[in-house]
Point group: C2
Chain length 370, copies 2
């Protein structure tokens, strides 16, 4: 057990915090909260969803209660649809009714949806209270680190949010065993993204260990999550508020977010959508002169059993419109993160709409050609 | 005109910003925005309300448009009811539809309601974009400085918000001439509060110049606003996020917020409610040994024609419950800002509920006794 226990730190001055990755952590949650100076005088609220609550909520509550913490629990419907102002408002109401005050803490027990939603509650309740991430998906190795929290607007994803760093990320890898295979694959998409933008060796490691990762092999997972979280933490430490560098984490996301919105939230999982987006970015990289990029990128994504094509019937112009509403669209030009090779990217502010249109069409018929 | 032009600075490191107070500023707004490095490439959104829009919106729009800024305007209903998640959501929708991006700016043209609401939009749209305060009420000399922005929850005031500092506060005192007299008085309540917590001489100056202030005499107003903003700016500079010192700005607000909520938002104006709250705080101060405090405080509030009593039929227990939901209620004890004398206060964390109950009853029958 202790064999896989890892602790990383997100270095952000007085907002620094630990990421603890290991087995059997939920049962010892209280000890980690105490270490992170989470006070026990005010009530804590645990936010989970209808899938994670029956599996893990009691274990977390018991650990906290046995150690003198007072908790209340709020369970939201599972899925992206819960990242809405309506569900947010419900949680705020529950927090007020439960008497949460400025010394209270909100814990997110779940994947990126619960983390983003509960984090936005924590970031805005009484102008910001403490927040702890207890991720239970592979994807959340990305979403639980870095303090970006948000809900969606019907017109655009993650449109409403703040930066609000957690006090602690407590990552119990045992919880990953209950993940549906499709969610496993979607989570690995962000993992290989971290290799593609920052660490060539890690990108190839993901491909070479795809079978172990897909089978949730404990050692492979622990290494992959540590590496993935570590890369994310480094980037966030250097540019917390996305003034420049942090934007590279958006590889595949310009198109990815558009796919999610146009196909209808929940049709494509986030990780699936950005996998297609990373294939698109590779095509864009080739277009700009990096030979072989597409085949290499796609070999990695396919090893992880991720989609790399667009359905023929998806509305191309709707994708274009959605991309232009994206936060990464700035002052009239399209912004894409474009690979310079495996493990390194640049931020291109000057991509013209027609190049993007062509790539979308190629992705619709691409399967046969690759 | 230039005679009354004053510029103060809120010192907050890289988040420092100027407060410009003077006449005829709206017509020159664009020049001040340029000086504050507000970019013109992305659209700006001006938020005003149904009272301020017909009076001042065109003037502001014209100044900006003539100088190359692209603006869109959103007008909300006047009054506290607009500080709601519903109106907030409408503004976010309008911002998306107008194509606001990360380089965009939101301007609040109005009183504290528009400032708090538009500021919360600016603080959360795409995780935070630029914000400019263009206050048009006396009360807003307080609300426009310091970066506290929020909307109300039906169960508690200002419950949902963030800290989001503006780039600039542009305070055109000409706009105050159209204020209804009741709003003038309510605004002066926060002005004398700044004296009561920080500056004895200024508190007496407010009393001695009450007639000039109530008559909106330009020189008196300019001095009072400069002093009031200056005190607020100093306190915020020392404690931006209300870890300790900043709490003194809440003199009169524990009870004041409860009065607003229990009487129904809009029945008592904010300034009126905190005037009663400051009378209550003075009674609490006397209770704790400061002789003569109540009479002296009330003489100031009455000179400004502010209320110092509670209606007999207001529900005392409802006030107690509302106070216990207040953000200033921490870890089970009642927190009040209590005067040590005129011009100086302390933060009392140990006030017991029965003392507060007694004071509420005294305020219900107090008029005759004072
Ligand atoms: N904040 C960030 O920096 C950031 C980064 C990447 C992604 N995101 C966001 O994260 C979200 C996606 O996260 P996600 O993929 O974790 O989605 P999710 O939270 O919806 O979880 C996926 C599904 O798995 C279920 N689930 C979660 N844990 C489980 C477990 N241990 N066992 C069984 N089922 C479990 C959930 O109920 C859900 O049905 C998106 O909204 C995306 O925008 C945010
Ligand atoms: N953020 C802070 O630090 C802070 C501090 C104090 C108060 N506040 C908040 O400020 C709000 C109260 O502010 P307010 O008193 O300015 O209220 P307000 O914005 O509602 O303005 C009062 C009334 O005057 C009208 N008005 C505004 N300017 C006018 C003008 N120039 N001429 C004619 N009519 C005009 C408005 O339409 C409104 O009807 C409260 O919600 C309070 O919580 C916030
Ligand atoms: Zn992502
Ligand atoms: Zn106030």
């Amino acid at each position: 057990m202790a064999a896989t226990l890892k602790t990383l730190t997100v270095e952000l001055g007085e907002r620094s915090y630990p990421i603890v990755i290991g087995e059997n952590l939920l049962a010892n949650a209280a000890a980690y909260l105490r270490k992170a100076s989470v006070p026990d005088k005010s009530p804590l609220m645990i936010v989970s969803d209808e899938n994670t609550a029956p599996l893990y909520l009691q274990q977390l509550e018991t650990s906290l209660k046995n150690d003198g913490y007072r908790t209340v629990s709020a369970v939201v419907p599972a899925g992206e649809q819960s990242k809405s102002l309506d569900v947010y408002n419900d949680l705020i109401t529950q927090a007020i009714e439960a008497g949460l005050d400025r010394s209270s803490t909100i814990l997110a027990l779940g994947g990126g949806v619960v983390g983003d939603l509960a984090g936005f509650v924590a970031g805005t309740y009484m102008r910001g209270i403490r927040f702890v991430q207890v991720p239970t998906t592979i994807l959340a190795h990305d979403s639980s680190v870095g303090g970006k929290v948000a809900v969606n607007h019907p017109l655009a994803k993650n449109m409403i949010g703040v930066f609000h760093q957690p006090e602690l990320v407590l990552y119990d890898v045992d919880t990953l065993k209950s993940l549906p295979p499709r969610e496993v694959r979607a989570g690995l998409s962000e993992m290989v993204k971290h290799g593609l933008i920052w660490d060539k060796e890690f990108a190839y490691w993901c491909r070479d260990n795809a079978e172990h990762l897909l089978a949730l092999d404990a050692a492979a997972l622990a290494h992959g999550l540590e590496k993935g979280c570590g890369i994310k933490a480094q980037i966030v430490s250097r540019d917390e508020r996305e003034n420049d560098l942090r934007a590279i984490l958006n590889l595949g996301h310009t198109l990815g977010h558009a796919i999610e919105a146009v196909a209808g939230y929940g049709q494509f999982l986030h990780g699936e959508a950005i996998s297609v987006g990373m294939a698109a970015a590779a095509l864009l990289g080739e277009e700009r002169g990096v030979a072989g990029l597409y085949a290499e990128t796609v070999s990695m994504l396919k090893a992880l059993e991720l989609p790399v094509t667009l359905p023929e019937d998806i509305d191309s112009e709707a994708l274009m419109t959605a991309m232009q509403r994206d936060k990464k669209f700035r002052e009239g030009k399209m912004v894409f993160i474009v690979p310079l090779g495996i493990g390194s990217v640049e931020i291109a502010n000057d991509v013209d709409a027609d190049t993007v249109r062509t790539i979308i069409e190629r992705l619709k018929g691409r399967e046969e050609q690759s």
